[in-house]
């Protein structure tokens, strides 16, 4: 099965005619991702990498039953394009661009929630389910189909975790990059339950990092998850960062260091892991040796 993206996903690339959209479409196609269409207003009727281009997402949904979209567009167009995808009925939007205005991300989140759409990113490397689909910019080299999921705030850590899992024989069911922007479309709390329900996932690696409160706010969800969750939090030795005025502290309280995050995650039932190389050992204890 895998989660979010599978062989059956019907992917539309928004911004397919741009340099980046064009290149990564070819890369995603190499992973046999089922890309059915692309959009670029004013370029409807052309093709890119053999994929038909339309002016609107609605056409992609109506003619190709697209259900997943991935964005390769400048940050300033992300709000518009995401809302377009949501309105057209797309159920998963993967936002690759970074530096999206914060207010826009909150608008996107509100819109997505109201319409039951999941938005991943911005500044995400994407989502990969090895042998099924690769939606975003994830280099497939380190990935191999397996039974461990990962969800990470960092693209590079997604790669290194997969590198570790593949190397140790566990492989991955699905790896989700939440994205590196300060305000994210989806967080750990929304992804973990999907892994819990996925029959092909036995354990999940959660990769957090200093800053923000996404790890802490995932704690209540982690308590509900039955599958083992391994938690890594980057920045254990990071110097204490600057804070954003008093208001942030009033709202978020005493959160945000790697230690408070690890503590919160462990308290909620996750297994803290210090380094990537410790993952196989801990997995072995929790779910036994890799299968196959």
């Amino acid at each position: 099965m895998a989660i979010l993206v599978t062989k059956r996903s019907r992917v539309v690339v928004q911004g397919i005619t741009g340099k980046s959209g064009d290149f990564h479409t070819s890369q995603m196609l190499k992973c046999r991702t089922n890309i059915v269409a692309g959009t670029s207003p004013g370029k409807g009727g052309t093709t890119v990498n053999g994929i038909p281009v339309y002016d609107t997402v609605r056409e992609c949904v109506e003619r190709h039953q697209a259900d997943v979209s991935v964005l390769f567009l400048p940050a300033r167009f992300v709000l518009d394009s995401t809302v377009e995808a949501i309105r057209a009925g797309i159920k998963l939007v993967v936002v690759v661009p970074e530096h999206i205005p914060i207010h826009d991300m909150i608008r996107i989140r509100k819109y997505a929630k109201a319409h039951g759409t999941m938005v991943i990113g911005g500044n995400t490397a994407g989502i990969i389910s090895p042998d099924e689909a690769n939606v975003g910019i994830i280099p497939p080299i380190a990935f191999k189909k397996g039974r461990v999921g990962s969800v990470s705030r960092s693209g590079s850590m997604t790669y290194y975790v997969a590198d570790t899992l593949t190397r140790s024989g566990y492989g991955e069911s699905t790896c989700v990059g939440l994205g590196g922007d300060p305000i994210l479309g989806s967080t750990f709390a929304e992804i973990l339950p999907l892994f819990d329900k996925d029959p092909e996932t036995d354990a999940v690696i959660l990769v957090g990092e200093i800053g923000g409160v996404y790890e802490e706010s995932a704690a209540p969800t982690i308590r509900q998850i039955r599958k083992p969750i391994l938690a890594i939090v980057g920045g254990r030795y990071a110097p204490v960062g600057k804070r954003m005025g008093h208001a942030g502290a009033i709202i978020e309280g005493e959160m945000g260091t790697a230690q408070t995050k690890l503590n919160a995650l462990e308290e909620a039932g996750a297994y803290p892991v210090m380094n990537l190389s410790d993952i196989p050992k801990v997995l072995q204890e929790l779910i036994g040796p890799p299968k196959g």
């Binding site: 940050a75 705030r153 980057g234 005025g245 990537l276």
Partner: protein, 400 residues
């Protein structure tokens, strides 16, 4: 992106929030004439992009233009919290009866816009939030939900105001929300909002932080002369140099030059090195899709850092492709400036191409590769990190 106090106050005033009489001065002479225009007692406030100015000696009172001139002389020569003081805001000194707090920010957990108020304010506000959270009034709203005057009235009432002050606080809170939306702010803070002896209310200090990523649509801020800036007061020379090249970079205390890919592994890589007994000399991030030139620049920063004994490199090509990465590394190697050993791993998008570029160059100029060890997907990253730590130890022994 934080605004200077005088900029923030300009926005406040434009939106109808009362501010004390005040002027920006860039020289002792200007301070004197501003103090004369204001008359009475004035306060000189160093314009730096940092909080905690008061405790750091950045806020001084003066009872006469003469005294203001004297104090301005030392203030304009001072460095406060790492910032050279280049300008002073000269403001009428206030007869404050009570300090209040009003702020608007983003609740990142719940994706809401929150208006925060408290009948106590000033520097103690965080302490109050911790000790007696029930005294903090929070109005949490969906983004773009209109904030009406009657919302302001309800908010002011909940803080505990009545009569004329209720109307004023209502107006100020509505104005703060307007500013928050109008300028794509991350934070709008009127703190302290001062209630004077005569009962009137005035914004004694203000902090506004703008979302850099939304600056492109903030034509009005550009007109006001606000441009993308960073809180660089406490930056080292190398950090400033990196920033000019748009490379996120932070000096640390160790001796291993960190040359990673994305920010995520940039952070986790530091943990890895320390766990392996090493000490990173820096934090660095290449940003998405760096050009060969930027890659070369990153290496040059480490080469030029005298602390650095060895370099740990890691590239997992995603949006940043290995071919561009290899080109950048070679660009640097060709300068002939490399004196430090590098242990580096490269894999990910276009890794074959990257490898090919290295091999071709090695055929042409084998000596360029004397001090660099390049690993691929077959080698675990922890091994490469360990190798970097070893190299640093070896260099250390050499210099001993």
């Amino acid at each position: 992106m934080r605004l200077y106090e005088y900029e923030a106050k300009e926005l406040l005033a434009e939106h109808g929030i009362p501010i004390p009489k005040g002027f920006l001065a860039r020289s002792v002479e200007e301070v004197t004439s501003c103090a004369e225009r204001i008359g009475n007692r004035v306060v000189l406030k160093a314009q730096i992009l940092s909080g905690g100015r008061g405790k750091a000696g950045g806020i001084l009172f003066a009872s006469s233009p003469q005294e203001a001139a004297e104090k301005a002389k030392s203030l304009l020569a001072a460095k406060i919290k790492g910032y050279q003081v280049k300008s002073v805001y000269v403001e009428q000194a206030l007869d404050i009866a009570k300090e209040l707090y009003i702020g608007v920010t983003i609740d990142r957990v719940n994706y809401k816009v929150v208006l925060i108020g408290c009948e106590e304010g000033g520097v103690e506000i965080e302490e109050i939030a911790r000790r007696s959270p029930e005294r903090i009034v929070k109005f949490s709203r969906e983004i773009d939900e209109p904030f009406f005057s009657h919302d302001g009235v309800a908010f002011a009432k909940q803080i505990g105001f009545s009569g004329k002050a209720l109307q004023t606080v209502a107006k100020i809170s509505k104005a703060a929300v307007n500013i928050f939306y109008s300028y794509d702010a991350k934070l709008v803070e009127v703190n302290p909002l001062a209630q004077l002896q005569d009962g009137s209310l005035v914004a004694a200090d203000a902090r506004i932080s703008i979302d850099e990523d939304a600056l492109f649509r903030q034509g009005q801020l550009q007109k006001l002369g606000v441009e993308n800036r960073h809180e660089e007061g406490e930056m080292t020379g190398r950090e400033k140099q990196a920033r000019e090249a748009s490379i996120p970079y932070l000096d640390l205390d160790g001796d291993i030059g960190m040359f990673p890919g994305g920010a995520g592994f940039g952070i986790a890589g530091n943990d890895l090195i320390i766990d392996l007994g090493g000490q990173p000399a820096n934090f660095m991030d290449s940003g998405g899709g760096p050009s060969p030139e930027r890659i070369a620049k990153m290496l040059m920063l480490l080469e030029e850092n005298p602390r650095v004994k060895a370099i740990f490199g890691a590239r997992f090509g995603g949006v940043s492709r290995c071919d561009d990465f290899a080109k950048g590394v070679i660009l640097f190697l060709k300068t002939g400036k490399l004196t430090k050993p590098i242990a580096m791993r490269m894999t990910g998008n276009m890794w074959e191409e990257g490898l090919r570029i290295f091999e071709e160059e090695r055929k042409q100029n084998p000596h360029l590769f004397d001090k660099i060890e390049i690993f691929g997907i077959e080698t675990p990253i922890a091994y490469v990190a360990k190798r970097a730590v070893e190299l640093a130890r070896a260099e250390e022994r050499k210099t001993d």
